[in-house]
C-alpha cells in the first residue's frame, strides 16, 4: 500500500516534467510555424497562449495515466528528472534563448 503511494507520487513528478517540457517545445514550434500557431489559436481574443496552456495541461493528465503503468519506485530518479525539467523550462521560455532555436528551425 505504502509502495503504491510512492509510485503515484513519483509518477506525478515525471508527469509534471513531461508537461513542462512539452510546453516549451510546443512554444518553439508555435513561434516557428504559422500552422501550429493557428492550430493553438482557437479563441482569437486570447490568442495561441490559451491553446498552449490547455494542451500542456492535457499532457500532464495523459502522462500521469501512461507513466503510472511503469510503476516507478525510485524517488531519487523521479526527483532528478523533475528538477532538471523545471530548470530547463525556466531557461527555455526566456525569449532571447528560445528565439535562437526558432531561427534555426
Amino acid at each position: 500500500m505504502e509502495d503504491k503511494k510512492i509510485i503515484s507520487a513519483n509518477t506525478m513528478l515525471l508527469a509534471t516534467s513531461a508537461s513542462l517540457t512539452f510546453f516549451w517545445i510546443l512554444n518553439i514550434f508555435k513561434e516557428g510555424y504559422k500552422e501550429v500557431q493557428n492550430f493553438l489559436n482557437f479563441y482569437p481574443s486570447v490568442g495561441p497562449l490559451l491553446g498552449l496552456f490547455i494542451f500542456s495541461t492535457v499532457v500532464l493528465i495523459v502522462a500521469f495515466v501512461v507513466l503510472e503503468k511503469l510503476k516507478i519506485r525510485n524517488q531519487k530518479f523521479a526527483f532528478k528528472i523533475f528538477i532538471v525539467s523545471v530548470l530547463l523550462f525556466a531557461f527555455m521560455v526566456f525569449p532571447p534563448v528560445f528565439k535562437i532555436i526558432v531561427k534555426l528551425i
Binding site: 503515484s8 486570447v46 495541461t57 526527483f79 523533475f82 521560455v93
Partner: protein, 169 residues
C-alpha cells in the same frame, strides 16, 4: 469617505479586475510563505501535515485563479490600440512586449502545476510525509516546488510591474 467611494466608482471595471489580479498575486506570496514554514514543522508536529495540505490546496486555487484572471485580462492587453500595440509601436518599448511580457506569460504556467504536484505528493503520502528517511526525495520535491514557485511568482510580478508602468491596462 465619500471622496474615496466616488474615486473608486470612477475606476473602470477592467481596472478593478486588473487590480484583483494583482491582489491574487500578493495573496499567493502569503500562502507560499506559510507553506515553506509549515514544511519544516512536518518532521516535528503531525498536525503540521494537515495544515500544509490545506495551505497547498488554498495556494493551488489561488494560483489557478491568478492564471485564469491573467488570461482574461490578456484580451484587453491584446486588443487593438491596447497596451501591446502601444509597446510595439516604439522601438524603445518593443522589448517590454517581446521579451518581458512574453516571458511573464510563459513562466506563469509553472507555479500552479508545481503546487498541484506538491499537493498531490502531500495528499498521497498522508501522515507519513514527515518521515525524513523513507520519503527523503519526495520531501525535497515538495520544498523545491514551493521555493521555485515563489521565485517564479516574484519574477512574473516584477515583469508585470515593469510593463504596466509604461503601458497600463
Amino acid at each position: 469617505m465619500p471622496e474615496l467611494i466616488n474615486g473608486l466608482s470612477k475606476i473602470s471595471l477592467l481596472r478593478h479586475f486588473a487590480n484583483f489580479h494583482g491582489a491574487l498575486g500578493m495573496f499567493s506570496l502569503i500562502f507560499l510563505g506559510a507553506g515553506i514554514v509549515l514544511y519544516f514543522f512536518t518532521t516535528k508536529i503531525k498536525l503540521a501535515v494537515n495544515w500544509l495540505r490545506l495551505i497547498l490546496l488554498g495556494l493551488f486555487i489561488n494560483l489557478s485563479l491568478l492564471d485564469i484572471a491573467g488570461l482574461s485580462i490578456y484580451t484587453a492587453y491584446r486588443a487593438e490600440n491596447g497596451p501591446r500595440t502601444i509597446l510595439k509601436a516604439s522601438k524603445e518599448t518593443a522589448w517590454l512586449h517581446t521579451i518581458v511580457f512574453e516571458h511573464k506569460e510563459f513562466l506563469a504556467f509553472a507555479p500552479p502545476v508545481l503546487i498541484f504536484t506538491a499537493l498531490f505528493i502531500v495528499l498521497k503520502t498522508g501522515d507519513s510525509f514527515g518521515d525524513k528517511q523513507k520519503l527523503n526525495y519526495l520531501r525535497l520535491a515538495v520544498i523545491s516546488c514551493l521555493i521555485l514557485s515563489l521565485l517564479f511568482v516574484l519574477i512574473v510580478a516584477s515583469e508585470a510591474v515593469l510593463v504596466t508602468k509604461v503601458a497600463p491596462i
